[in-house]
């Protein structure tokens, strides 16, 4: 029966609980000891049979036990509020903590879902953005709002060294128009005159005595640069009507006309990308 005290020590060997457990243990142990003693006495042949005195003793043990049990129960009940209050408070805190943690975990799960959704949407958007960015670049290159670099040709033209009374030796806006027209025909991808990018909005005009490109007056010599195949462009340009025209100008009027293939030319951007009148009309 040695497991008995252990079985009662459910609350642990806490000092505050020791008294009543100790008391109970004492009651049990004493009772057992007395029992064992009695049995031992009975088995001992030299000890006479139990007398009425023993019965009185047993009765008093029973009495003591009942008293002890009563006291123990009373004590337990008296000490109960203190221990129970502490336990109840602990349990209350645990339950509150658990419900709070459950709430937080729910919030965490919801947030985690939200962030995951946003991230996957962002990933999809990044692909869209890349497509949009690529399209902007392609259109910007074609429109002339993005500068380009690459192989190509440099065409340098100038008025004739001696321009007499006949005006044939002076380069006109229409001459440059035909030259640029020839370059596009010869496969140019981007063209500039004196570092002014030619776009769909750019005009080559004569204003007063000067040629203007995009409303800016230029002075000879004019340097026209174009990206494109450097191997074929010079020859192709000379085959065009513009090229033929310029060869004629060079031969008959002494204007300067020089085509040089280059491994790299740089065509700047024209930053005008604002429209005042035209609006896109999309298919509805």
């Amino acid at each position: 029966m040695t497991h008995l005290p252990g079985g009662l020590r459910e609350d642990g060997p806490d000092a505050s609980e020791a008294p009543h457990i100790g008391l109970l243990t004492q009651v049990m142990t004493q009772t057992l000891d007395q029992d064992y003693a009695a049995v031992a006495r009975r088995r001992d042949p030299q000890v006479p049979d139990p007398s009425p005195r023993w019965r009185i003793g047993a009765l008093s043990v029973l009495l003591v036990f009942g008293l002890m049990l009563g006291v123990s129960a009373l004590t337990t009940d008296q000490e109960q509020p203190l221990i129970a209050a502490e336990r109840a408070e602990l349990i209350e805190q645990i339950e509150a903590g658990q419900s709070k943690l459950a709430d937080q975990q729910q919030q965490l799960a919801a947030l985690s879902d939200e962030v995951a959704r946003m991230q996957s949407r962002l990933a999809a958007e990044l692909t869209d953005d890349r497509l949009l960015s690529n399209r902007l670049t392609a259109l910007g290159v074609a429109a002339g709002t993005i500068g380009v670099t690459g192989p190509g040709v440099v065409v340098t033209v100038d008025d004739a060294r001696y321009t007499g009374e006949e005006s044939g030796g002076v380069v006109l806006d229409t001459d440059l128009q035909l030259l640029v027209n020839g370059l596009w025909e010869a496969g140019a991808e981007a063209v500039s005159i004196d570092d002014h990018r030619l776009t769909s909005l750019t005009s080559i005009r004569l204003a007063g005595e000067a040629i203007t490109v995009d409303y800016r007056s230029l002075a000879p010599p004019y340097v026209i640069e174009a990206t494109g195949d450097p191997d074929t462009m010079p020859a192709r340009l000379l085959e065009t009507r513009g090229g033929q025209f310029w060869l004629d100008l060079k031969t008959n009027y002494g204007v300067q006309f020089e085509i040089v293939a280059k491994s790299q030319v740089s065509i700047p951007a024209d930053l005008r990308d604002h429209l005042l009148y035209a609006a896109p009309r999309r298919a509805t």
């Binding site: 079985g7 642990g12 806490d14 109970l24 009651v27 049990m28 009772t31 057992l32 007395q34 047993a58 049990l69 129960a73 337990t76 129970a84 502490e86 336990r87 602990l90 349990i91 805190q93 658990q98 709070k100 943690l101 937080q104 947030l111 939200e114 946003m118 991230q119 962002l122 958007e125 399209r135 902007l136 392609a138 259109l139 290159v141 074609a142 709002t145 993005i146 380009v148 670099t149 690459g150 229409t174 035909l178 027209n181 020839g182 025909e185 769909s200 909005l201 750019t202 005009s203 990206t227 009507r241 990308d273 429209l275 005042l276 009148y277 035209a278 609006a279 896109p280 009309r281 999309r282």
Partner: protein, 218 residues
């Protein structure tokens, strides 16, 4: 007898305890309860930390999403302008419709090219000829067998030029002395300009991927 009493006592005390055992934790030791409470606290702290971190991430994502939306809106409007400039989208707006007749078959590519340059100079933002060819930066005018070709496509008179821009400025440019009207009339043709509040430039130009040009930005 003693054994009986012991069992009786144990049962009595156990019963007293059992009657109070209605909570899940009542059977637990106090240390276990305190340990449980401690681990609850640290779990709550951990969770709160994770919540904070996720909230920061979410806020960053939200603000980057807002920034992206602004950038996208900006890009979309730039895209629209670029599509008009490159002739990859149909365009509408005020402008002029110019009709050029050429009864003597003497209007050459160079005259049309010069006319286009005049319109560009007058601020034309979108141009098309004969409702078939969109004029962009790289558009070139050639001749073959007495016919005018624009970007390699044959166009026949009368030439109909739609141009979007300030209709008054465009019309002035055409009839300006020494301008397109004078030149065509010198060649035996006629030029009529009609100003309109709404000109449709519906033909499209398709852009090829450049083989030699590398963008220096973007």
């Amino acid at each position: 007898m003693g054994l009986l009493l012991a069992v009786l006592g144990f049962a009595a005390v156990a019963q007293m305890r059992l009657t109070r055992d209605d909570s899940d934790y009542s059977g637990q030791r106090r240390e276990v309860l305190i340990e449980l409470l401690d681990s609850l606290f640290s779990a709550a702290e951990r969770t709160l930390g994770q919540v904070d971190e996720l909230e920061r991430t979410r806020d960053e994502l939200l603000s980057s999403s807002e920034r992206r939306q602004i950038a996208i809106d900006e890009a979309e409007s730039r895209l629209q302008v670029l599509e008009v400039l490159t002739g990859t989208v149909a365009a509408t707006g005020p402008g002029v419709t110019i009709t050029i007749t050429d009864p003597e078959d003497s209007v050459a590519a160079a005259s049309l090219l010069n006319g286009i340059e005049e319109l560009r100079d007058a601020g034309a933002e979108a141009i098309e000829i004969n409702d078939t060819v969109r004029v962009v930066a790289s558009t070139f005018f050639t001749e073959q067998d007495g016919e005018v070709l624009i970007d390699g496509v044959a166009v026949r008179p009368p030439y109909l030029i739609d141009a979007i821009g300030s209709s008054h400025t465009l019309s002035e440019a055409v009839i300006f002395p020494g301008g397109l009207a004078d030149e065509i009339e010198r060649l035996g043709g006629t030029v009529s300009v009609e100003e309109a509040n709404l000109v449709e430039v519906g033909s499209l130009h398709s852009i090829d991927t450049p083989e030699y040009s590398q963008p220096t930005e973007g």
